[in-house]
């Protein structure tokens, strides 16, 4: 049985917002990683082609997160940075932030970790709308 994950891209006030969710058992499914990663990146690329602002907010509506998710976020960050944008990660489950930190994502340039989507939006407003160099 394949995990029924959801990736919902949208544009809000000129900013690309991607909301992702997946069931808990996705973490134990070896077949989850690649489709989820592809879906995240493709959703961003599709919207980024039509937007001037390459920045992106990724919100995870999940209970748990492991290394497969961290790697998917890292791939999305690479796509955003390729367009000189900023990726703000929101709602990452707090109990699993340490793995994200230890794998070095928060220290990446153009990557920010915030507690929720509203905070991410506020941060995005204070940023320049153009590409970050």
């Amino acid at each position: 049985m394949k995990p029924n994950f959801k990736v919902e891209p949208a544009v809000r006030q000129g900013v690309i917002e991607i909301t992702a969710s997946y069931p808990e058992f996705a973490m134990t499914d070896a077949g989850f990683d690649e489709p989820f990663r592809q879906q995240l990146v493709q959703s961003y690329e599709k919207l980024a082609k039509t937007q001037e602002n390459p920045n992106c907010i990724l919100t995870l509506k999940v209970e748990v997160a492991g290394s497969p998710v961290v790697k998917a976020i890292y791939e999305l960050w690479k796509a955003v940075r390729a367009r000189l944008g900023v990726l703000i990660l929101a709602d990452y489950p707090p109990d699993y932030v340490r793995a994200l930190t230890d794998l070095g994502l928060p220290s990446l340039p153009g990557f920010e970790l915030v507690s929720n989507t509203n905070e991410a939006r506020e941060k995005m407003v204070t940023r320049r709308t153009g590409p970050e160099t």
Binding site: M1, F25, A26, M27, G66, S67, K71, R98, D102, L108
Partner: protein
Amino acid sequence: MNRSSNSTPEYVRWAVPLFTALLLILQPAANAQNTANLINSLSATQQRERIAAARELGQASESDRQQAFRALVDRFAVEDKAGVRIALLRSIVKLQSDPNIVVDVVTKAQKDGEATVREEAARSAGRAFIRGTPELADAIFPLVSSGSCDNLPVEADSEPASANHLLANIKHVLLTLELKNGMDQCVAKMVKSYLSRPPQSLELLGTLPNAKDKAAALLLALEIVDGCRSDPSTYPQCLACAKTFQMSIAGAGISDPGFLENSRHLNSAIDDIEATVTGRKIPRTIRRYVGLPIVVLPLLGMIALIILSALLIRRRERKVHALEIDTIKADFSRQLDELGHSAQLEAARSALKHFTPPPPALRRNNIEVAGRFHQGVGVHGDFFNWYTTNDGDTWLYLVDVEGRGFLAAITSTLIRHVLDSTLESAANADPQKVLTLVDRQFENYGTTRDLAATMNLLQVSTSNKTLQLANAGMPAPLMFRYGQAQPDPIQAAGVYVGSGYSHYKIEPALAKETIGIGDLIVAFSDGVIEARNSEGTPWGVGGLSSQVMRYRDAGVEEIATKIIAGVTDYSGTETAQDDQCVVVIRIGNNPERRREESAPTIDISWEGTGVNTQVGFTIVNSIDAVHEIRVSLQPTVLKWAQRVMWGGDIDRLRMGVFEAILNSLRHAAKMGDRVRVTFRTDNSTAVVELHQPSEWRDWDKSLGTERRAFVASVAELKPEMAEWGTLLMLWYSDSLEVLRQGRLIRMNFSQKWRKGEK
């Protein structure tokens, strides 16, 4: 020369019919007065008087006389009797005062005895009259000299021997004279009448190159060459002579248009004969009989082809028309059949709805049951029902009747009645015995095997925690045990009820299963798993299982609904080919209690006290595993770690173990397999061991010496590394061992701050 005196008695003999004819002829032409007089005079019976009346015609008025003359001429043209013709000619000569007109009329008098009249007319007009060739031969010189040829032609067939004499005279004329005033035409006329055929004509043609009058010679040559065409045997000689003549006139230098035109005609005639002689052209005489068919036959062929085509087209149109009529008839017949069939199906649906209605969902403290039914394009007679007995057992049956339409509906109604009555009277029997009794009931009814049905009959006893199933040809129900990833089929077997279920023993006839809180049982008809997608692949038990696994935590009604929705989505159409029937049974009804009371996904055991406390977890690999790890394992581990570790070490251990367990469930255990994780202390080290059922085959690649050396050498993990979970295990643990060919993973976490010792 004068032969008229010999014919006098003829007038008397033919007088009566002659004047009778005159009366009839002249009557419409004369004016009233003269006609009356004429009739009165002609009505006399005396011969002499009638003759006198005829003579008086000459004294009639000019108008009457002209009318009478024209009537006589017309009458003469159609009269056959010789006596009457001569009498008419005499009257014509008498009536007409203009001699030239008379000559023109009498020229047509060419029958025996009429030459006399012609001669009389010619002489009265002052013209020469030649009776035949001998005369002509002698008269040709005076004729040509006088310039008058008015009385030609003459008798055509008189004394042919004189033709040579005529030929000699004509040759002489041609060699010595230039023919003026139309005499060339006159001579040509003579040649045409008397000398147009060989041998005289060819002899004359041979003379023509020396003729003095070239134009007249050309006319004669045309006549002669034209005469040659009737006899192919003369072609070579005729051609030679004509060519000689042609050459003789080629240098004549005559520019008269008439001459040039005749010259072209002659050239054309010579070419025509020459082509015939050399075989380039079919002779005219032959062309007459051959050429016609050459032209006519293709024409007839084309006409025949057109007619044939028209007939074929008409025949084809008739066939098409007949086919169209047949199609319309067939459509009409089919529509009638469909109407009848639709009416029958509608009646069958009404009967099923009325007699075998789906029961409402069952909700009790220890069991929940719901079903859904999706009717196929025909009425196939699937139905289900359940009820609870006084001792708390629940009986359920799911039936699929053989056949379709109204008969299937009736059969369904009958089977339901038999099933219900049998269950009521045999409540203490097991499902196999009940189906046996139902089969016997059908035998008692004396029915044929047309009433056969497949069915599942389940007895669920929550008090005894058992389930019994008898199956007569239906797909095996699926048991989704709580905490177990994959379902197990509940196997029982038997032939159709109504086809000898009670006689043919097939094992296992009765299936017995233990049940626990949270278990899910799904019974279904073959229409569910046999539904096919556009590629023809059936949904199968696999598709059904996946759908149930996805919604297994939902209520039984929603699960049943989702199953029907899933099979509909899969087949891509709302129109099912077969009835689709599903019944979902859940043991227990409270999800929270289910987790507490059922066999846990994680089994936790504690041993020892204080820092020597050991804790163990047995994790069943299922879709609930991560959830249980999060809500059960991690708090427990935290509780244990707080006894033996301090601060940041605790979180390091928590994250390292979490990634290790995920790694084990992802790569070293199938769904339903169990992974055991134990936590203990060894001096100042926390030891975590994972026992996993499958080998971690590429552990050396992921956890080999090189990787470990790299991890030890860097202060911060690099995201570019491949196996991030493995990296985290290496990063968080102080050391990591892979034992028993990858079936045992041991992680050591040194306690930097042992609790109570800081």
